[in-house]
Amino acid sequence: MTTTATAPAPGAPISASRRRRKLGGSLGRYIFVRFLLIFPTVFILVTMVFIFMRLIGDPITAALGGRLGAEELAQRRAEAGYDRPIIVQYLEYLGQIFTGNFGTTLTDNQPVVEVLTRYGAATFELAFYALIVAFIVGIPLGMVAAAVRDRWGDAALRVFAILCYATPVFFSGLLLKLVFSVWLGWLPVSGRASVRTELALGRQDGATGIYLIDALRSGNPAYVSDVLQHAILPGITLGLLTAGIFLRLVRTNVIGTLSMPYVDAARSRGVGEYRLVRKHAYKPALIPIITVIGLQIAMLLGGAVLTETTFEWQGLGFQLTHYLAARDFVAVQGIVALLAVIVALSNFVVDIIAALIDPRVRY
């Protein structure tokens, strides 16, 4: 950390910028570099999770420690290979992940990938509803807030946005449940559908696991309305969290674009204020939303765990809490690692979409 270490410092920015110039410009190159970045991201997260989980010892002792005798425990550990050196286990784990094997749960002996395919659809469906709510609520309100900037309407909307963020999803979920399901009795308390619908949808040929699609395909309006009724509260609960962020983002961006010179130029040409806001300020302000959706995927997944627990929505998050309670850390490790892959992949997709829409991103 003495003078020798500082030597490369002045040179570093130059070489970095030169490299960027070389890579930028071509979309294909950009996509390629972004794609390569998936690997270190997944690798780091998987490694971190592995190290963390092994710090507490092996999963067998954690799951069955109190219930089995010492000898039987040792035998089970040897069978599963947990008595070998940690580095061997780590390399083996990396190899397994690379081939798509995320382990087998201890408590109910299922491949983690199986758990994902069975429950992932439910989480996806929930996230989809949440994004719809977030768009419907967040973007128009953000535009309104920017248009009435610094007046009472703006202040109220901003406090609303902060409240969306400040309310933990499980609390807003409980409140909605209390008011709309228990007191008013309008909507079901929990679950993804009533038992009869669930059975009928599961029996269908080629069921996707996404109930809305299955219900639509069945052509029975009773099923569709049942599925939608169950979706309203969880969707709103998780959606409001993201809606607050969209609101703030749209507001900030619209205010930013409204102070751009071209808006002033348009105003001086006599363009009306309404048209000014609609045509000149909104469109460029919406582009960053796409990038933010990418960041929201992580937040949606975290929020989904809590929302699913609140509403007993049988998705990945609900399953995760179930395994946590059972102290099945192989399952936890597998699900978390799998989610790391999903987050990295979806960030990649969002980056590409952003680059396609806005060429500035590529440079």
Binding site: T2, A155, P168, L295, A298, M299, V305
Partner: protein, 333 residues
């Protein structure tokens, strides 16, 4: 003596005091509302033993057991929980737990994040690249999931007051380090190329001295903002952990998330007081802290600050080079 004088002249430049003077109208109202709510929270946390009518794990009063799920009454203003605790007392004591976790988590992550950010930004090279990739990977991942993994490691899932507080705080720290790291690194890279850093190098100052004396002191301007944002996130993460059953045992300390978890079943049978009050406590504290953070953010960004007669302030120059709002949304600088 010398130090005292500089202290006094610096009072006006202290983060919040300066912004309070700078603000006008609604923005000032939001800042003040945030300060008041946060003040009440800090007061409650500090004097919880004096304010709370009962202990957080107290089950019986002078005339026997409290009873489970009692509706609000004169003895128990907020009713009692399914476990027979007094809700009001647990809400008040919960402030103390939340405060402890925030302070420990934020201090730890500031310390680690600043150190790594300085090293990464100033020294550069492969260390910088590796650290940035790691930070980005952690940053992109769901906070709560990482915190769950960390909580399993640290406490094995359940623990006493200090074990639980430390577990929650450290798991939150793991998640927050990248945020401080990114900000301090970006600042360091900017400050590093300033003339005064070069001058220091020319006169032969050692790297650690330049890093901490010259670079670090000029890289701290965004810290108050991130501090407030992280405090609110820390409360939410703590509550989330508690809600998923990784909280602190009810006999060791009061924790709002844990109480909410126990209230899920109550809600279905129409018992509202066990969930509404701890939940409101979380919302209020996060709201207060976030109001402060939002106001600081807006005041630092000339595009968002409510215009005032006075001309430019130092914050304009700051924000002109680096709009904080964008960075905070995760845009890579």
């Amino acid at each position: 003596m010398v130090q005292k004088r500089t202290l006094r002249s610096r009072l006006g430049r202290l983060p919040v005091v300066h912004q309070l003077r700078q603000s006008v109208g609604l923005q000032r109202g939001m800042l003040i509302a945030g300060l008041v709510i946060t003040g009440v929270f800090l007061f409650t946390a500090a004097f919880a033993p004096l304010i709370a009518p009962y202990g957080f794990a107290q089950l019986r009063g002078e005339d026997g057991l409290f009873g489970a799920q009692q509706p609000p009454s004169a003895e128990h203003w907020f009713g009692t929980t399914v476990g027979g605790y007094d809700v009001l007392s647990r809400v008040i004591w919960g402030a103390q737990t939340a405060f402890l976790v925030i302070v420990i988590a934020v201090l730890l992550s500031i310390f680690a994040g600043i150190l790594l950010g300085l090293i990464s930004g100033y020294i550069g090279g492969w260390i910088d690249r590796v650290l940035v990739v790691i930070a980005d990977a952690v940053f992109a991942f769901p906070t709560l999931l990482l915190a769950i993994v960390a909580a399993i490691v640290i406490s094995g899932g359940q623990s006493n007051l200090w074990g639980g507080v430390m577990a929650a705080a450290i798991s939150i720290t793991v998640v927050f380090i990248p945020q401080y790291f990114r900000v301090i690194r970006a600042e360091t890279v900017r400050v590093k190329s300033e003339a005064f850093v070069e001058s220091a190098r020319v006169i032969g100052a050692k790297t650690p001295r330049i890093m901490f004396r010259h670079v670090f002191r000029n890289s701290t301007r965004t810290l108050p903002l991130i501090f407030t944002l992280n405090s609110s996130e820390a409360i939410l993460t703590l509550a989330g952990l508690g809600f998923l059953g990784f909280g602190i045992q009810p006999t060791s300390a009061a924790e709002w998330g844990y109480d909410l978890n126990k209230a899920i079943a109550d809600v279905t049978s129409g018992i509202w007081w066990t969930s509404v009050f701890p939940g409101l406590a979380i919302v209020l504290v996060v709201l207060g802290v976030t109001l402060i953070g939002e106001s600081l953010n807006d005041l630092a960004d000339p595009r968002l600050r409510t215009r005032r007669r006075a001309a430019t302030t130092p914050a304009d120059a700051v924000a002109a080079t680096q709009p904080i709002a964008r960075e905070e949304l995760g845009e890579v600088v």
